[in-house]
Amino acid sequence: MSEKKHRVSRRQFLTYTLTGVGGFMAAGMLSPMVRMALDPALEASGGSDFISVGIGEDELTGEPQRVDFNVEIVDAWHTSEQSQSAWIYKEGDEIVALSPTCTHLGCTVNWDANEDYPGNYFCPCHGGRFEKDGTNIAGTPPTRPLDIYDVEVRDGMVYLGQTNER
């Protein structure tokens, strides 16, 4: 279409202008509202702090022991304390802290709790089992290993961070 042929009628010009201005105003009105509604989805998830679990590095052995600790959960304007646990042991020099949440359906696993399966983490819900290092045992319901905590040692005390999938 050549430039000359493209005659814009008065009606067309007004339609374009009004639609443009109207659209601009609507966008100016709606964009802050939509951005506000999208905020939870766009917010970057902050890495959690390390929390002392009240156990010294030298108290750890090769045998997993259960530690309970409280985590502060900030849920928008509501802050609450949530109790969390970890199975923690020493493998040589390395400290391993495993989440007790079964990777099958979220029940809580226990170390060495079933006499038929010594040296396993056992989940009472559907009989899911894990090795000492958290690896899921084939033939039981879980499909991936137990989540593992970030571990830090400060002044001889053990601190745990967030859990990571393996």
Binding site: M33, R35, M36, D39
Partner: protein, 223 residues
Amino acid sequence: MLQKVYDWVDERLDITPLWRDIADHEVPEHVNPAHHFSAFVYCFGGLTFFVVVIQILSGMFLTMYYVPDIINAYESVYYLQNDVTHGMIVRGMHHWGASLVIVMMFLHTLRVFFTGSYKKPRELNWVVGVLLFFVLLGLGFTGYLLPWDMKAYFATVVGLEIAESAPVIGGFAKTLLAGGEIIGAQTLTRFFAIHVFFLPGALLGLLGAHFFMIRKQGISGPL
């Protein structure tokens, strides 16, 4: 593309007469600012409606974060104001818009009054307009309490005492509005329900009647 979608729908549902009937009507010369600039006074009604639309939209988005509860109301408003991106803007729109609605409505009322547009046959539309005025004042009054800060609380205490001073029904009216003897938990939920459901419902109904009567009777003639 858009034209094709429109044509496809129009061919089947014949929607053109529908919107033509609503949107396509002549604006008389004496209310068109392009002819007489002073005719801008005829825009105040439309502007009131425009701000009302902003209030409804911004209010809908604010309820995503607001909780009408005496423990959490202030905290949730603080959170949406300071921690949510653009929350300050949206709350600002609702806050300032509330005053702007009243200002625009007042100017619109002045225009209707001084052009004599309330006279026969438009008396009923004036009555509906006055009802709209009360509904918007009610929205302002109930919305003022919702942030649940000192200003909100004591403004409502004063407002309810004014209601109480009414003869005969005063005490009853105050208890009914406050949802009990204490201005507290039940007052807040009550005001929230009135602000978000009851009055907006009434507002939309009355606006429908207001606009229907304008289209039925046409715009009043020149001075």
